[in-house]
């Protein structure tokens, strides 16, 4: 008994952080875990898909060319698991490539939003006053610009490159995030623990980084997971219009666009496979986002 008491005192107890609590709640959420499994599957597909593929994404299969509707169906024998596209390229490796690009667009867009939006919004909200007014009016002005129009103009003027696409999506994605973060910061900044830090003399920048941002991360994480599919949708829409990712690169939007053009000629697989991955990924992200919201904000249930 004595030794138990003394070991209890000597041993540092490990704390249960709010994050650990949230993780527990998230793991218990079946829909969210299902969504997470889908996302892991899609990511693995994007990373390791090329190892399984028999054909590269650039090779043309001359046996199939010209008779895609009859010869290009999905089959295990000739290695075209998902069939071929109109030119006789292997649709499996094309889908792998499209998945890589689309996921990258989504993640990069969301990452820009998280970093720029969080810091911008937290700074505006915490400093307040005239600075806040100026910073948020700038956001209002940027938001009032019809971004799809600007994005299309950008791509037309500066050429259709993937870098330009990232730039365009990055420019618009952080605006909503900065508004959400600013609102949260306003409600946080008058809490007593912030006052305590100010009274001690912690610098403004350190208060934002050490006290404000960690308390915002829940909201940011939820919004970021919901932002990724939004970015993917935007990119797909641009690519569907033919302005986004250009050959030989491809993306889900481009693949779906090609597939839909040949739908009437009996090559439905060209639409079905990219669309399948597109849809399950969006579902996955939305499930995970919902799960995160429930896990991080237990009060709101």
């Amino acid at each position: 008994m004595q030794s138990l008491a003394s070991t209890m005192v000597e041993h540092e107890v490990k704390g249960r952080s709010p994050w650990a609590d949230a993780r527990k709640r998230f793991v218990r959420n079946k829909a969210a875990m299902f969504g997470l499994c889908i996302l892991i599957f899609v990511v693995l597909f994007a990373i390791f898909g090329n190892w399984i593929a028999v054909w590269s994404n650039e090779e043309l299969d001359f046996n199939v060319m010209g008779q895609v509707a009859t010869m290009g169906q999905p089959s295990i024998e000739n290695g075209h698991y998902f069939g071929t596209d109109d030119l006789g390229r292997d649709l499996f490796s094309r889908t792998v490539q499209g998945t890589q690009i689309s996921l990258m667009v989504g993640v990069v867009g969301a990452a820009i939003a998280v970093i720029a939006g969080t810091l911008y919004g937290a700074t505006a909200g915490y400093i307040g006053g005239r600075t806040d007014q100026l910073m948020m009016r700038a956001v209002d002005i940027l938001m009032s610009i019809p971004y799809m129009f600007v994005l299309i103009l950008l791509l037309v003027m500066f050429g259709r490159s993937i870098a330009m696409l990232f730039l365009g999506i990055g420019l618009i994605s952080w605006l909503d995030m900065s508004r959400i973060v600013r609102g949260q910061t306003l409600s946080l900044k008058n809490r007593e623990f912030i006052e305590a830090a100010r009274a001690t003399g912690v610098s403004t920048w350190k208060i934002i980084i050490r006290h404000i941002v960690p308390n915002l991360l829940g909201v940011v994480a939820v919004y970021a997971t919901l932002l990724v599919p939004l970015m993917i949708l935007t990119e797909s829409f641009i690519s569907f219009l033919g302005l986004g990712v250009q050959e030989p690169l491809t993306s889900w939007g481009a693949l779906i666009s090609e597939g839909s053009k040949t739908m009437a000629y009996g090559t439905l697989w060209q639409l079905a496979f990219p669309l399948f991955f597109f849809v399950i990924t969006l579902f996955g992200f939305f499930f995970v986002g919902d799960g995160l919201r429930d896990a991080l904000d237990p009060k709101e249930r």
Binding site: M8, R16, S17, P18, A196, A199, T200, G201, R210, N215
Partner: protein
């Protein structure tokens, strides 16, 4: 006589309030939160500050610690004026003045461990310390305030209200301050826990030779802990006296009304003839009454009270009233009657 630790002269805090729908060029209205407060605080002494809600207690504390803009003078023991200092100059003094907050849980960052919370003032003011040494000091401080040092990695939500307030006290003490401002540190706690926290504060004060400014609206708590008590009303000092004098022989009518309202834990006690009723609400701090601010509710108010601001006079027991002295039974009865009418 030795120099007081803190000498506050004519302290004002005025908030400029822009009404919501006003045009940008309209002048903001002024809210007089603290309106000319004078007091001194000696080393090792506890000054209690009491007053009803909106009397400026918390604002006074926030002004002293630099969280609210103030005008006037607050001379520290070395002769420097805390109010006139730039934030950079103030840094040196921030470790001398620390604060304990009202809501124990809200004053701790929920995403930081107890160790990180207590260490924050230390790493802010002594940036040269090694990590191991910081941890050592945090653990020693946790032990001192009655927390188990092995719980250093726990998070605030895993502690009870009383324990959280101990964490708050540990955070204030870690930089070895000379003055701790306690802004209603026990109002959010259970009565039994209140006693623990207050006794802890008294013990620490004796051990470390601290000065305390103790703000509360619970008069019996203030009586227990304070050497001297200051009564605030609408941002002005009504009366300052030693705790014993103030509680046994209050001179200002407001102090008497306040003290008579303290509940007596005796079911047979009949408050009818002792409680001094005060009418109406606290006047608007946007537009405080002329002369004595208390005259609108004072049972003894006369014409002179409206025209002339009473000064804080006296040596040990200072009163700001033209007609100080105990209220007579007739005055109490009259106040009671006008309340009924």
């Amino acid at each position: 006589m030795t120099r007081p630790l803190l000498d506050v002269r004519d302290l004002h805090v005025i908030f400029r309030i822009h009404s919501q729908a006003a045009m940008p060029w309209t002048k903001p209205r002024s809210l007089y939160a603290v309106n000319g407060v004078n007091f001194t605080l000696n080393q090792g002494e506890t000054l209690g500050i009491v007053g009803e809600s909106g009397s400026g207690k918390s604002t006074l504390a926030r002004a002293l610690i630099g969280l609210a803009d103030a005008t006037g003078k607050a001379e520290w023991i070395d002769g420097k004026d805390l109010i006139a200092m730039s934030p950079r100059q103030m840094m040196k003094y921030r470790s001398d003045i620390q604060m304990v907050f009202q809501d124990p849980l809200a004053s701790l960052n929920p995403r930081m461990t107890v160790g990180q919370i207590i260490a924050e003032p230390l790493i802010t003011h002594r940036p040269g310390l090694r990590k191991a040494e910081v941890k050592e000091r945090v653990k020693a401080m946790m032990e001192k305030v009655g927390l188990l040092p092995n719980q250093i990695n726990r998070y605030p939500h895993e502690f009870s209200g009383g324990q959280c307030q101990r964490i708050g006290i540990a955070r204030a003490l870690i930089v070895e301050p000379k003055l701790i401002i306690c802004d209603e540190p026990v109002s959010a706690l259970d009565v039994s826990i209140q006693a623990q926290v207050i006794n802890l504060l008294i013990r620490l004060q004796r051990e470390l030779g601290l000065s305390l400014i103790f703000i509360a609206h619970d008069l019996s708590v203030v009586k227990h802990i304070s050497d001297r008590v200051m009564v605030l009303y609408l941002g002005k000092v009504m009366e300052i006296a030693s705790s014993t004098d103030l509680y046994s022989a209050p001179q200002h009518p407001y102090t008497q009304a306040l003290l008579s309202a303290v509940p007596v834990p005796d079911p047979d006690f009949d408050p009818t003839n002792t409680v001094v009723p005060l009418h109406g609400e606290l006047p608007s701090p946007f537009n405080p009454p002329s002369g004595c601010v208390f005259r609108t509710r004072c049972p003894r108010a006369q014409a002179r009270c409206a025209s002339e601001v009473p000064l804080l006079l006296g040596n040990d027991q200072q009163v700001a009233c033209h007609f100080p002295g105990p209220l007579t039974a007739a005055e109490i009865a009259r106040a009671r009657q006008s309340e009924v009418a």
